[in-house]
């Protein structure tokens, strides 16, 4: 009986055979995005840092904890703050859930950013993976917007004024700025309408978009020929000697894709036996490790540090300085110098440059020594933003004036 039930669920041969292990991946809805075999090289920590997986798992954790938090949250100002207090004081595991959601959200911003840096340094955005880079950059913006919309929901002073500052930065954009701000807030100031809009964006619109883009992002990895090989491979331009291209042939079936186009989108490079291992168990085990490490880190943070919650939002009491969420502090710093030029134009140009990067970077080589200019320019921009961010975070006091972080009582972190 039990056996027949199991057989109806897992149709393939038992995983003790090579065929069985291929079928385990192939016939499983949740696993079929994987190839049956993966290169050993791609499983190494130093190849990807598993940053994509970590980001994906953080998204999963955020989805689960976020869903749990939704059971306790009312998106209107008179209740939202009290709901935070109820989570903290009376809901079973309430503080733990909120802390996990908060810290996973912050970690996700970091993880996605590091993932982008890793892909840039590996040159993995180059042909044929140009479009997946664009999808990735869009996902980065979705993550930032998700974090930004979530920031308002506790409805405390910090949330209220950070979002006030944030939306004012948006409003200072030329032409569309004021319109976008009104659309975002449902009015000209932060109030009931704004909280509802941020909530709907945060729990429905943006997660939906992110889920769709994540699916495209993962699907494209396979369709673009799997993970990019290491940029440190000695002979980059020609395929490694041990891989032999399978020529398209009329005698062989390639599955639906092959039938549709007549031949595979890319010539599949089948690695030699000693360079590859079955995804089951090796890749899955490592993905499991990535997941467990991520969840352990988030849980440990949630146990050690409470998510901040300041006084209830009071539109008549402006804190000085009012700071945007930390990852936008670089932009706030720029805005403080010149709202239109350095605050909006410069970041907009950078975003555009990031998005279109694969299309104007004509250098075909992925080897670091051929890309010194690109690498150092990128490092410069990242470093400059980090410096601005740190200035905004630690060196700005009342009236956005310069203060030393060790000077007492004047500074403050966002």
């Amino acid at each position: 009986m039990l056996k027949s039930i199991l057989r109806s669920i897992f149709r393939g041969d038992p995983p003790s055979t090579r065929k069985g292990r291929s079928e385990l991946v192939f016939y499983n809805f949740w696993l079929h995005i994987h190839p049956a075999k993966v290169r050993k090289e791609h499983l190494r920590l130093r190849h990807t840092g598993y940053l994509g997986f970590v980001s994906f798992f953080l998204l999963l954790i955020l989805g689960v904890t976020g869903l749990a938090l939704m059971f306790y949250y009312h998106p209107y100002p008179a209740r939202a703050y009290q709901d935070m207090k109820d989570l903290q004081f009376v809901v079973f595991l309430g503080p733990f859930l909120r802390n996990m959601h908060r810290w996973a959200g912050q970690l996700l911003v970091v993880a996605v950013f590091l993932h982008l840096c890793r892909v840039f340094y590996a040159g993995a955005y180059k042909e044929p993976r140009q479009f997946n880079w664009v999808v990735g950059v869009l996902l980065l913006f979705l993550v930032l917007t998700l974090s930004f919309t979530g920031y308002l929901l506790p409805w405390d002073q910090k949330a209220f004024w950070a979002i006030t500052v944030g939306t004012n930065i948006v409003a200072s954009a030329p032409l569309v700025g004021p319109v976008v701000k009104v659309l975002l807030l449902g009015g000209h100031t932060l109030g009931t309408q704004a909280l509802l809009r941020f909530y709907v964006l945060h729990v429905a619109v943006l997660p939906g978009l992110a889920a769709a883009l994540v699916m495209v992002h993962l699907w494209r990895i396979r369709k673009d020929g799997g993970l990019a090989p290491s940029p440190f491979q000695p002979e980059e331009s020609s395929p490694p000697a041990r891989e032999r291209p399978i020529p398209s042939s009329p005698e062989k079936t390639y599955g639906l894709m092959g039938i549709v186009t007549g031949k595979p989108a890319f010539e599949v490079l089948v690695p030699e036996e000693e360079e590859a291992v079955f995804s089951y168990p090796y890749a899955f085990l490592r993905e499991g490790i990535a997941f467990l490490a991520t969840s352990a880190a988030v849980m440990a943070l949630a146990l050690l540090y409470n998510a901040p919650l300041s006084e209830v939002a009071d539109p008549s009491k402006t804190p000085n300085p009012a700071k945007a969420p930390w990852y936008f502090l670089g932009i706030q710093e720029l805005v403080s110098h010149s709202p239109a030029l350095s605050g909006i134009l410069l970041p907009s140009l950078l975003v555009l440059a990031l998005l279109l990067l694969p299309y104007y970077d004509g250098n075909p080589s992925r080897r670091p020594k051929d890309r010194l200019l690109a690498l150092s320019l990128f490092a410069l921009v990242v470093l400059a933003y980090l410096v601005l961010l740190l200035i905004g975070l630690y060196f700005r006091g009342a009236g956005w004036s310069w203060v030393w972080p060790w000077a007492k009582g004047t500074g403050g972190t966002a």
């Binding site: 291992v277 490592r286 499991g288 467990l292 009491k317």
Partner: protein, 479 residues
């Protein structure tokens, strides 16, 4: 886990050293431990221990072992008082379980009985409306509000009575003379000249309508009243040289100004119908002009000594509402009195004697000409709007205003010599910035604010009449 164990099998072609299996297993353990820690923390809240101690305390009073065991085994649960009318939820009774149990008189904290709150039952008032603190919280430090980001810590016990003034905004509160005294000091010293309170007052100092909520710090407030610059060095507020007692009374009054939004249940009894309040009303309505007490006073109405023995309280109350209906042929006008005010008057009449009447007569219930009445009203308005705060008691000046001409806010005693009435009215309505004695120094801190929209026409005329009455006699040809 299953996955991890399955890796134990070796297959042909798997040529990777597999340390990953161990890491996977250890991380599984780590995750379970972390989840276990979170569950353990959630399952053992601090308040549950307090409740179990309370149940043990209660069990002492049970006669037999079975009853004791039953009480001790009472399941623990968060207790909360939901107060929609006060926009609060108070969970204080989660630990303070004995608050309404007289058997807990003298029990150790946090279980002791709270005496004297029969008129303000916790079920309708909760705890935090008087004591402050964080009602939503269920752990000690957070509930007592002594944590960052909670602006209302518990009030020190000697200031808790100040909270009575949140609802009892008029008259005096028995047992809290400080409130009425503080309110009186606030009015008589012209604080409204600079500070706005419930929509009336100047704009030089901060609005005080929510001062008790935003600055819930009695020590700071008291030091501030004794010397404003001791706690806020750039304050332009003059030092009024209050005594420590007065500073405390003003602090009480400030603490009562929380601007709390309450439903009508809580605001309906803003006045406590006490004897002193009845006496105040009796004087304000000038009852002694027609009535006598113990033979002292006016003769056109009946003597009021023993009136509460002659008539029931109900009769007197209805008589106040419509004298002619209850007592045909009465010439007494129907005054517009609230139920509390009628009760207060009846209570005062029950204890009033001839001595009270003499005191009331000495207090100056004299008939006034329209001009004198205007001057009198003007003098009251001069205090009510806080003009005395800067222009001094009796408009005699004396409040320092550095770098203005003369270095002081001007005295208004001689204003009739230098200005026309219309000019003074214009200054009151439009405000005025004093000329600087030395243009290179900072501008004088105190300026005459614009009173347009705040002072009505009648008060404006009365204030001017009052100022004109101040001119010392025989000095009209001074200039």
């Amino acid at each position: 886990m299953v996955l991890g164990l399955a890796v134990g099998q070796r297959h042909r072609g798997d040529r990777m050293r597999d340390w990953a299996r161990l890491v996977f297993f250890l991380l599984c353990l780590a995750n379970m431990v972390l989840l276990g820690l979170a569950l353990a923390r959630a399952a053992r809240p601090g308040w549950a221990a307090y409740q179990r101690s309370y149940h043990r305390l209660e069990a002492q009073y049970e006669p037999d072992a079975a009853a004791k065991a039953a009480v001790e085994g009472t399941p623990v649960a968060i207790a909360q008082i939901i107060l929609p009318g006060l926009q609060r939820v108070d969970r204080c009774t989660t630990c303070h379980q004995g608050v309404e149990n007289p058997a807990m008189k003298g029990a150790p904290e946090p279980f002791s009985y709270h005496p004297g709150i029969s008129r303000h039952p916790p079920s309708r008032f909760g705890c935090t409306i008087c004591h402050g603190g964080q009602g939503l919280a269920t752990d000690l430090a957070a509930a007592h509000g002594r944590v960052p980001h909670w602006p209302q810590p518990l009030l020190p016990s000697e200031y808790v009575r100040a909270s009575c003034g949140q609802c009892h905004t008029k008259g005096d509160v028995p047992g809290v003379p400080e409130l009425a005294e503080g309110r009186h000091l606030f009015d008589s010293h012209g604080c409204r000249g600079c500070h706005r309170l419930r929509g009336v007052g100047g704009t030089i100092g901060p609005d005080l309508s929510r001062e008790g909520a935003t600055r819930r710090d009695p020590a700071w407030l008291e030091r501030h009243f004794l010397d404003p610059r001791a706690v806020s060095p750039n304050s332009v507020m003059p030092n009024f040289h209050f005594t420590p007692g007065q500073a405390k009374e003003l602090t009480y009054y400030m603490l009562s100004l929380t601007g709390e939004e309450m439903s009508s249940y809580y605001t309906s009894e803003s006045v406590i119908p006490s004897v002193p309040y009845g006496r105040e009303l009796f004087a304000r309505k000038d009852c002694i002009a027609c009535h006598s007490i113990g033979g002292v006073g006016g003769k056109s109405g009946p003597d009021l000594e023993g009136v509460t023995r002659r008539h029931s309280a109900r009769w007197l109350d209805e008589h106040f509402v419509n004298p002619k209906l209850v007592s045909p042929g009465s010439t007494m006008p129907a005054y517009d009195l609230t139920a509390d005010e009628r009760t207060a008057l009846i209570r005062f009449m029950a204890v009033a004697t001839g001595k009270d009447a003499e005191a009331l007569l000495a207090g100056g219930a004299k008939s006034l000409t329209p001009e004198e009445a205007a001057v009198e009203a003007g003098a009251r308005a001069f205090v009510h709007y806080g003009c005395v705060g800067c222009h001094g008691q009796g408009a005699a000046g004396g409040v320092a205003n550095p770098n203005s001409q003369g270095g002081q806010v001007p005295s208004l005693i001689h204003v009739a010599d230098d200005y026309k009435k219309s000019e003074v009215m214009a200054i009151i309505l439009d405000g005025k910035t004093p000329a600087m004695a030395n243009p290179s120094k900072p501008a004088p801190p105190l300026t005459m604010p614009s009173w347009k929209g705040t002072v009505n026409e009648e008060d404006l005329h009365n204030i001017v009449e009052y100022l004109w009455s101040l001119k010392p006699r025989g000095e009209s040809s001074r200039w």
